[in-house]
Amino acid sequence: MTQPKILSLNALSKRFGSVVANDSVSLELHRGEVLALLGENGAGKTTLMNMLFGHYMPDGGSIDVAAPSGDMQPLPLGHPQAALSAGIGMVHQHFTLAENLSALDNITLGSEPLFSLRRDRAGARAKVQGIMTRTGLTAPLDTPVGKLSVGERQRVEILKALYRDARILVLDEPTAVLTPQEADTLFENIGAMTRDGLSVIFISHKLREVLAFSHRIAVLRHGVKVGEIATSDADQRVIARMMVGEDTPTPTRAAMKPGAPVLALSGLGLRSHAARDSLTDVNLTVHAHEILGIAGVSGNGQSALAAVISGLRRPDSGSIQVDGVEILNPDPKVMIKAGVGRIPEDRHHDGIVGAMSVAENMIIERLDDPLVQTNGLLNRHAIAANAKTLSQSYDVRGPGPDAPARLLSGGNIQKLILARVFEQNARLILANQPIRGLDMGAAAEVSRRLLEARAAGAGVLLISEDLDEILGLADRIMVIHDGQLTEISSRNREDIGLKMAGEHT
């Protein structure tokens, strides 16, 4: 690399309790370079970047950044303010936007002196507009961010960093919520900026983007940097092996003849003040022995659809039939009774009561069961025994059935929920993002269970933003966009991508 060095991370380490998130990780970045940071979920990518940006205080190691003069200077650790003034900008994995403020306010937040009675709004606006025309990243500046679409918010996040004159831009999974086309545009814009001297570190799980847009790839595994490779020397297989350490078998999906419908939605409508929470005239049928995949960019009505099928929200119009029986007053209890097993999208928020024990979380959906209670009193022995069996057969590992469920790792929480759902022999399984955030082993386990349920005669409704997951598991695919569902027969990524973006071609 002929370009000068602009950043070096020196042996950064970080522990969270017993978890070693980063173990002496070193990285270098050069001017105008795009470095992709890869690794499985939980490998420590975000943690590393958070240390760079000053959100986390490293347990060990140091960071040097090139001053405008070109000399490398140590960066004070643990101060986002210091990182910002050193020219480091970060777009976080989760939006860090104040929804009650306009995009312009979000962008200028923190860049002006706090204790001044005046703000130079016009100047700020002109500067942002300049950046927008230069980079092609546009967003409405005066609308409250809460009213913006996810793509617009993502652009506001990037504008925030550029507004601060970032010379080093960190993007943590910037395309997770974008359609493939939007993602491509974004990277083209970024490419243009790197030619002006911007350096970029981006984190992504999408190998396609990584191969197409980065110059160099660094891979983390279990908090350790396991390799670095020039993108020109890499291909999908090489990277996957670096990330996982070995080749993992993908579960195979045997062909199967669909049976009777287990879930039929017809003419389903749901109004909501937020467009991304509405559904319009949704029709779908899931049969026994069938996995129906719902693909789509997040925020297009997936949560609303899941909420209706879980019984959390009542549709404004249309009908729901489970196993041929019309559900008149849907609520979670009714849906459970009707044979719907639900794997919620946000397992920490909706899946478990973190403060209650693993054993209690395993029976939380069946409190009326005589096995669980007699005369309103809990059968503690039966509950404990149940927890023991389920933990064994679903391989739920952790501090034990009496420990609070929040102490389980993400993968084990998911296994707990699977155990709960599958033990009830559900007719329909609603799996909303069941694999997100899981490592390859746990993900394979979930996939296996879903296929097993399908084989046993259940229908599965799989909602996912990950096309590979859908392509790997689903028998049929529908795309959700703007609260509307369309069936799609092609299994071509390009076609599905276009539908996800709402193109009616």
């Binding site: 976080h92 937040l109 703000r119």
Partner: protein
């Protein structure tokens, strides 16, 4: 005097503004705290502390504006306690608030009694007097209602403007609104969540204390135990009614003041027919009704009541 006549009279509206003044301070204070994400139930005690400290400072010879300053500092002190307990330590805002109320009240009472052990009639100070601003107070209606009040009422009105201006027109205000909506947003931009929140709670508490100081330095000229008499709690309700907007906060406080002013006027009129308590109860009942009506539309600061810890997710 019939109701219409009352409602048209200058003295009625002047009284409404006078009664509203401590509430204006209090609502603005509560609003600042809550905008940043912290509920401050210490308000009732902070009122008492402001009333005692402001008065005591004047009595000891600090001068009226010195008293105002001392009251504000006392409020900020209790705000600091609440801020530390609820912001970096993330303790229950309800309990910390009630604890601060108990602490501020008992500390003020204890101090007052220890300093003045044997009084029978409370000592008096020379309080703020009603102003007579040359041209303004001659404006018909508006003059007597607004411009012949005491300097503290003027200060309260100025504070409405100031708080509005700061919240909506300065970088600090934008940051405050952001930290009450999503602390990560300010953290990611290099601002201190703790600093902003503690600062807001301290500033808000200082305003609350001015509400108390108004009672002993403007509405009256002496300190009495128990004289805050629930005024702080009312502010907590008014903030929701005001949807966390300074302008509506002023409106809410004025409405409450007007109702109270009407109440004392009507009570003498029909007191024989209706138990007096009905009138006393009415402002509270109306507050609840207003709350129920406003609750649906209320745009709570999204991060209200939620602690945020640095470096934790």
């Amino acid at each position: 005097m019939d109701i219409l006549q009352i409602l048209l009279s200058e003295s009625f509206w002047a009284a409404s503004l006078r009664i509203a003044t401590p509430l204006i301070f209090g609502v603005l204070g509560a609003l600042l705290c809550e905008k940043s994400g912290v509920l401050n139930l210490g308000i009732e005690g902070i009122f008492a502390a402001g009333a005692m400290c402001g008065w005591m400072a004047v009595w000891l010879g600090a001068g009226l504006w010195g008293g105002v300053l001392v009251a504000a500092l006392a409020g900020a002190f209790f705000g600091l306690i609440h801020g530390i307990l609820t912001v970096p330590l993330g303790l229950s805002q309800h309990v910390s608030g009630l604890g601060v109320t108990l602490f501020a009240t008992s500390l003020s009472y204890f101090t007052y009694r220890t300093a003045l052990p044997t009084v029978t009639s409370p000592p008096r100070i020379e309080p703020f007097r009603a102003l007579d601003i040359p041209i303004l107070s001659d404006i018909p209606f508006l003059g007597p209602v607004v411009f012949q009040q005491t300097a503290m009422t003027m200060l309260a009105l100025a504070m409405v403007l100031l708080v509005w201006y700061v919240l909506n027109r300065t970088a600090l205000g934008v940051a405050l609104q952001a930290v009450g909506d999503n602390p990560d947003s300010v953290d990611a931009q290099g601002l201190s969540v703790y600093g902003l929140r503690i600062g807001a709670v301290m500033a808000g508490s200082a305003l609350m204390a001015l509400g108390g100081a108004f009672l002993t330095m403007s509405a009256f000229d002496a300190f009495f135990f128990g004289m805050v008499n629930g005024r702080g709690w009312i502010c907590i309700a008014l903030v929701i009614f005001a949807s966390w907007r300074p302008g509506k906060a002023l409106l809410g406080a004025l409405l409450f003041g007007a109702f109270d002013a009407l109440q004392v006027r009507l009570q003498t009129e029909v007191g024989a027919m209706v138990p007096g308590q009905v009138f006393l109860m009415a402002p509270y009942v109306l507050s609840i009704i207003a709350l129920v009506l406003a609750a649906r539309r209320a745009e709570y600061p999204r991060a209200l009541l939620t602690p945020w810890f640095k470096g934790q997710r």
